[in-house]
């Protein structure tokens, strides 16, 4: 992309976002849309101040649960993925089970999880972990399976122990896959935690948003939605830049 083109793209992006906000504001002020359901952007900005403290507390709570679920799903996903992916019998036997669990809508077991674990933090962490675990597991299993066989054969021929084979050959080879899984997993973990908070929460951003919707507080709801979206995008972008730096270093 030339710099002139980049400038044109940037101008187009800024102009269309501003135009969208302008049309939206105008439509709300002119009464074309019901402000009860679609509040004007200015009203949403005003709502930030009103929900600020409680929304930030809810966001902190949600992100803390997501962090725990994320660590659990990365650790479990990578270790299970390496174990299942590198042992042929395990892979062949458990493959269909993993794929089935990956494809199944996890929301169907959520009522059961809530029955067993009750309301609060534990079901959110468990459900977030289940959500994040399977994409990582499936990716890592595939990554391990696709590791160049020649590398393994050569290492074996030079007398590498299986410990060395895992540490020096397999793990370095799957680092890109693991990073891709980590980028995918965070969104899934956050998704899982938010769903539980909406379904059976007592705290957290999902609960806050659910209550705002039930109370028909549209400006506050839009502000809360924007807050969660922005933090999610920020987290993913941070992971992306970390990823880029790591791959340049490699």
């Amino acid at each position: 992309m030339t710099s002139a083109e980049r400038a044109r793209v940037l101008v187009l992006q800024v102009v269309s976002v501003l135009a969208l906000l302008g049309i939206w504001e105008g439509a709300a002020r002119a009464g074309w849309v019901d402000p009860l359901f679609v509040p004007a952007p200015s009203a949403v900005v005003g709502a930030f101040g009103r929900i600020g403290p409680s929304a930030l507390a809810g966001l902190a709570d949600t992100l803390a649960k997501t962090a725990v679920a994320y660590v659990l799903s990365v650790v479990l996903g990578v270790s299970l993925g390496v174990a299942v992916g590198s042992v042929r019998v395990l892979r062949e036997v458990s493959g269909p089970f993993v794929v089935a669990a990956y494809g199944m809508p996890k929301i169907l077991v959520l009522p059961w999880i809530v029955l067993i674990l009750g309301f609060g933090t534990a079901p959110a962490i468990l459900y977030g972990t289940i959500h994040g675990l399977f994409p990582i597991l499936v990716l890592v299993m595939g990554g391990v399976r696709d590791v160049d066989r020649t590398l393994v054969t050569v290492a074996r021929a030079f007398g590498a122990s299986s410990w060395q084979l895992y540490w020096k050959v397999l793990l370095p080879a799957i680092v890109p896959t693991v990073l891709a899984g980590m980028r995918l997993g965070i969104v899934f973990c956050l998704l899982g935690v938010l769903i539980v908070e909406m379904f059976a929460g007592v705290r957290g951003m999902g609960f806050v948003m659910g209550s705002l919707a039930n109370g028909f507080q549209a400006p506050e709801l839009f502000a809360a939605t924007a807050l969660v979206s922005a933090s999610s995008i920020a987290i993913v972008l941070a992971l992306d830049s970390l990823n880029n730096r790591l791959s340049r270093w490699r």
Binding site: L108, P111, L190, T225, S229
Partner: protein, 248 residues
């Protein structure tokens, strides 16, 4: 063959372990399979939930409408973004950033806007299905070899012909993959929407059974819903195989 037997044995062992553990711990909470089977029977003869057919049909209708809308909008947006360089460069990254947001954050707003009825589920299923289809079309358009388009143009093919005879076959593989992911996500969107709050459909029945602690009925309803999910995926995989054979 041997692998299949081992898989079957593992499945059997899991069911048996579930049965024994559930009986020992708390049959009401952990629902052993021996309780599920009769509950499933009662459900299927419309004894426990006579409104099962209507609910199943409502959920199916929501899925079909959501998916049809997602295909139309996804193909439209994908081609507009893919075929126009400047527009694609400008809006592609915005779309990708929105895709990085867990979709469920939009659901409370949709529920506020569309109410508790079918419309909010359709909107959410549409939203989930729309992104993978659009992104697949975008990726597919970039895959098309520009030389082929150039040659076809040089031989006097009109834009519509270039589109139908050169571009679509070249990107079919990616496109069909995106359509399949889109279907899976539309199905999940509708079900998530129903469980988070609805007055009809399978989600409402599941919530009813769960709320009244009718755990055996709850598991039976989940199994029926799963059958719907699996059926939709089987149909999608048949279509995908058909399309692959056609493109070969």
């Amino acid at each position: 063959m041997r692998v299949a037997l081992i898989r079957l044995a593992i499945l059997g062992a899991l069911v048996l372990a579930w049965e024994l553990l559930a009986r020992a711990a708390n049959p009401l909470l952990y629902v052993p399979p021996s309780v599920v089977v009769p509950a499933l029977g009662r459900l299927l003869v419309l004894d426990s939930y006579p409104e099962l057919p209507q609910s199943l049909l409502l959920t199916l209708r929501e899925i079909v409408i959501a998916y049809a809308l997602a295909i139309a909008a996804g193909l439209g947006c994908g081609f507009v973004l893919g075929l126009n360089r400047l527009v694609g460069r400008a809006y592609g990254p915005i779309l990708a950033a929105l895709y990085a947001v867990p979709a469920v954050v939009w659901y409370p707003s949709l529920m506020l806007f569309f109410g508790l009825d079918a419309a909010s589920k359709i909107a959410f299923g549409f939203l989930l299905g729309f992104f993978p289809i659009t992104l697949a079309v975008l990726a597919g358009v970039r895959q098309v070899n520009p030389h082929m388009v150039l040659v076809a143009r040089a031989f006097g093919a009109r834009p519509a012909v270039v589109f139908a005879k050169v571009m679509v076959p070249a990107m079919l593989f990616t496109l069909v993959g995106g359509l399949r992911t889109g279907l899976a996500l539309s199905v999940i969107g509708v079900i998530v929407g129903e469980i988070l709050g609805s007055k009809g459909g399978m989600g409402a029945l599941i919530n009813h059974a769960y709320g009244l602690f009718r755990t055996a009925d709850y598991v039976a309803l989940v199994l029926v819903t799963l059958a719907l999910v699996v059926a939709s995926d089987v149909v999608a995989s048949l279509v995908e195989r058909r399309a692959q054979r056609w493109s070969d």
